[in-house]
């Protein structure tokens, strides 16, 4: 474990950091330490010892070198919005706030369809910048923007395996990473991908020469370094969109029907975005505070398993053809398209454009509304299609047991808990199965119950051979020991690249002294 957390050593570190980065960007004032100590998850907050705001890759390098010299942990942070307690410094140390001063778009190129950005560039900015340029004729570009807030860091989402809304078409966001700049635990700067090769420039493929070393940094939660720059692919985004919500004609086995529809539709590769939501999620997207119905009651008459589909086209004719195919597929699977004027006007009220298009930046708004009650639980995993109905059914039983109040008048629906299917992966190879519920972060009893349900959900997922999509709620302890050789290699890698365990120590159980 790091040994540098003592008053004397930290005072020296503070001074060195101030000299290296600039006094105004370094602080150990308790007010600063408190404001960087917590997120909204069930993971308890911890204070760092020093907060630093670097302005460049070289600044980050200086920070890491000073930290290494004095054996003080380093924890990187972007927006701080995450589902894993990922920015909480478990052992104190230096909190590196990457977004406040490193927020520039460094390059945008419609020839190679790429954009190069710093950590502070947020999804809404990435989207807006790309969308203002066309790759051909009137076809603008767009990033595979993560299904997250418009206010969160694009870079952090990509390297943290953020799931893009356009997963079904382009794969997940890690496949759109062209190159990265990392500052390693020893302070070395490493570039990956084609931008790392002299004179090559940017080639929009997801790997560099030889062995693909970039992967070790993906979803590493800062264990192997800090990313200060990323180049990602952009994609053509056709200008016209149609949005649909499908529901099952006959409610029985609506999830199975939705799943079949997802498979069939994914394998036609014509949708831009597919998302099976649930009533509770839909309710939370209704951002009209004047709605007279209590949110829970609304769930009773919303679709249980609505499937949201977006298709794009350059012409109405193209959209007409895609729509015809879409409707045929839906009918084959026992689904029908809801009347958009009715429900979706309510849902997307205030959003000038449909969900996930220009309103891609509206995702920030839409999802923001979801958080109304407090904190947002979202546990997600990679899984094939077949286990999903059983997993969903078991999740609902967990909700009944651990979450829903015993009052019989309160239905499971009224708790707004439910399951989603995100992704899907291209051609429905896999799905991102997600469970949702919300808790009141200000209510300690609620937080306790949430923690139990989260744990149980994690166990449920693993029992079905479904892999948690990323480091969720520090459940690495549940998950990683099941991975045999992989965990051994991971621990070896940690020993090799960060022998003093300074880079975000204990964010994953990868050291022999982890407790």
């Amino acid at each position: 474990m790091p040994t540098g957390i003592n008053t004397e050593n930290l005072a020296i570190v503070l001074e060195k950091l101030q000299n290296a980065i600039g006094k105004q960007w370094v602080s150990d004032d308790p007010a600063h330490l408190a404001s960087y100590s917590r997120d909204f998850t069930i993971v308890p907050g911890r204070w760092p010892n020093i907060v630093v705001l670097p302005g460049s890759t070289e600044d980050v390098q200086k920070i890491i070198k000073i930290a290494a010299e004095h054996e003080v942990p380093v924890v990187p942070m972007s927006t701080g919005f995450n589902h894993g307690g990922l920015c909480i410094p478990l052992h104190g140390g230096i909190m590196v706030d990457l977004i406040k001063r490193m927020d520039k778009v460094l390059n945008l190129d419609e020839e190679t369809l790429t954009i190069t950005i710093q950590p502070g560039v947020r999804n809404a900015v990435t989207y807006a910048m790309a969308n203002h340029r066309c790759c051909v004729d009137d076809v603008p570009m767009a990033a595979a923007v993560s299904l997250s807030m418009g206010s969160t860091s694009t870079l952090a989402n990509y390297i943290g395996r953020g799931i893009p809304g356009s997963e079904v078409k382009y794969g997940d966001s890690t496949e759109a990473i062209v190159g990265m700049t990392w500052v390693l635990p020893d302070g070395e700067i490493l570039k990956t991908g084609t931008p790392a090769v002299p004179n090559v420039g940017i080639i929009p493929i997801a790997y560099g020469p030889g062995p693909d070393i970039g992967g070790m940094f993906i979803n590493a939660s800062g264990m192997f370094g800090i990313c200060t720059e990323i180049t990602i692919k952009l994609f053509p985004e056709k200008g016209k969109e149609r949005l649909y919500i499908f529901d099952a004609k006959v409610k029985e086995r609506s999830l199975e029907k939705a799943l079949e529809f997802l498979i069939q539709l994914s394998q036609q590769a014509l949708a831009e975005f597919i998302y099976k939501s649930h009533g509770g999620q839909t309710v939370n997207m209704i951002i009209d505070p004047d709605n007279p119905y209590p949110p829970g009651a609304m769930c009773e008459f919303l679709p249980e398993d609505p499937v949201i589909v977006s298709i794009l086209g350059e012409t109405e004719e193209e959209l007409d053809i895609k729509e015809e195919i879409l409707m045929d597929l839906a009918a084959e699977c026992g689904l029908y398209a809801l009347d958009m004027k009715g429900l979706t006007e309510q849902i997307f009220k205030g959003a000038p454009n449909p969900f996930e298009r220009k309103a891609r930046s509206q995702i920030g708004k839409a999802i923001g509304s979801v958080l109304r009650r407090g904190a947002f639980q979202w546990y997600s995993c990679n899984v094939k299609a077949d286990p999903i109905p059983e997993m969903a059914s078991k999740f609902f039983r967990l909700v009944e047991k651990y979450w829903k109040p015993t009052d019989p008048k309160i239905s499971r629906h009224a708790t707004m808990s439910g399951t989603d299917i995100q992704g899907p992966h291209p051609f429905a190879r896999n799905f991102m199965f997600e469970v949702d519920f919300w808790w009141d972060q200000a209510n300690p009893e609620d937080v306790k119950r949430a923690a139990v349900l989260l744990r149980k959900t994690g166990e449920l997922i693993l029992e079905h051979g479904a892999q948690p999509w990323r480091n969720m709620y520090r459940h690495g302890e549940l998950h990683l020991p099941r991975l045999g050789t992989y965990l051994d290699i991971l621990k070896q890698t940690k020993r090799e690249f960060d022998p003093n365990n300074l880079m975000h120590p204990d964010i994953e159980p990868v050291t022999d002294d982890y407790i």
Partner: protein, 409 residues
């Protein structure tokens, strides 16, 4: 049940009642930036003035929420530090975070940070930077350290027509200039212009002159809530006794204070002069006789008539009606307007920040709107932006000044 209709500046209570809000902040970061649907580039994105200037999370709403959580814990998890105090008193109260967050999560960040200032003042005493203006209000009924008597001086300099004394004569409309218009030389013309416009429109109006007292906004915004409450009671008594139907003001701060902080207790409606002018133009009662030259204008939405009172279109309609004015918007406008940086007592507490943010705003005017003139409807904005513009090519004027100039003789 969350109060989804929480209004800015209303019912700001004890800090403890915001503790749950502090827990519920999910650090989504939406409050740091303009509405994500309105983002067009990597410029002009951020929108929390103290955050933009000071950068640390502590100066953003999420950071302040954590301070509230720590201070309301039992025992408190934080004690006094200069940084803590600075984080508390650099909130300009611009309302952007509450305007955005309230409709999603029902939180009231601006109100909670206002309450935080009150808490800090009670716990640690009023800041020395604010002491002077609070004492000035106590002693002189204005924050400008000026005696009461000159409050009516500007009116005595109006020669074309006589302005009635609303304290002595019954009038339909009370014109409330506010402290800035009365005491700040750069803002005097606003008072004169307002009076002229009301006169030309044939409105039966009067002023209180030296009997006018501060609306209490300054005291409220720096967290001297008890003093504000005293002022409020006195003002209500005084103003209601006048028997007016309408109060018109040209000061965004006064307008917001009377319209929201006094809401329900006044026997008259509160209107900002710009809405009046728009109406007069539409009715043909106000005509422009002079074409202005080389005015490439952009409009800076003041927080207190913008987000607080939702008056966005009237000033723009008026500006666009003035002959010779070419108008172009900045990026951060209307609900997204970037605060000038001086509100909430920040001008006196952290003048560097006030000027720094103002400079950023002027840069936006220059780059995004190609403007040579920033027009606003708030004396605080104009003072602060004017200070930042000093020595440069950018002009900062009140809309009333342009209106008056275009009206000619």
């Amino acid at each position: 049940m969350v109060d989804l209709k929480a209004k800015l500046g209303r019912n700001v209570g004890q800090l403890i009642q915001y503790r749950n809000d502090a827990w519920k902040c999910v650090r989504c970061g939406l409050c740091r930036m303009i509405d994500t649907a309105d983002v067009t580039s990597d410029q002009f994105v951020d929108n929390c003035p103290s955050g933009i200037f000071h950068k640390f999370e502590t100066f953003y709403p999420a950071g302040r929420h954590e301070l509230i959580r720590c201070l309301t814990a039992d025992p408190p998890e934080l004690g006094y530090t200069e940084v803590l105090h600075k984080a508390i008193f650099t909130c300009t109260g611009c309302g952007y975070c509450q305007n955005l967050c309230n409709s999603f999560k029902g939180l009231q960040p601006t109100n909670s940070f206002q309450s935080l200032k009150d808490f800090a003042n009670r716990k640690w005493g009023v800041r020395s930077e604010h002491n002077a203006l609070i004492q000035s209000i106590i002693n002189y009924d204005n924050p400008w350290l000026s005696p009461r008597k000159p409050r009516g001086t500007w009116a005595r300099k109006v020669k074309d027509f006589k302005i009635k004394d609303a304290g002595k004569e019954k009038v339909e409309v009370l014109y409330f200039p506010g402290c800035n218009a009365a005491y700040v030389a750069e803002i005097n013309p606003v008072a004169k212009a307002t009076a002229r416009i009301l006169h030309l429109a044939g409105i039966d109006f009067g002023i209180l002159g030296e009997k006018e007292r501060c609306c209490g906004s300054t005291a409220f915004r720096v967290g001297a809530v008890d003093m504000f409450e005293n002022y409020r009671r006195e003002n209500i008594r005084q103003l209601n006794a006048l028997g007016v139907k309408t109060m018109v003001t040209a000061c965004a701060g006064c307008h917001s204070t009377f319209a929201h902080c006094y809401a329900g207790d006044l026997d008259f409606e509160v209107v900002h002069i710009v809405e009046y002018i728009e109406r007069l133009i539409q009715q043909g009662k106000l005509k422009f006789r002079k074409e202005l030259k080389d005015v490439r204008a952009t409009y800076h939405d003041p927080c207190h008539i913008g987000r607080y009172s939702k008056i966005y279109d009237a000033p723009r309609n008026v500006l666009k009606a003035i002959p010779g004015v070419t108008f172009k918007e900045m990026v951060r406008i209307k609900e997204n307007s970037l605060c000038c940086g001086s509100g909430g007592g920040v001008k006196s507490f952290d003048p560097n920040m006030a000027l720094g943010v103002a400079s950023i705003r002027l840069e936006e005017a220059r780059l995004a709107a190609g403007a040579n003139t920033v027009v606003s409807c708030c004396p605080f904005c104009e003072i602060n932006l004017g200070h930042a513009a000093a020595g440069g090519d950018m002009k900062v004027v009140d809309l009333l000044q342009l209106v008056s100039e275009a009206m000619g003789e």
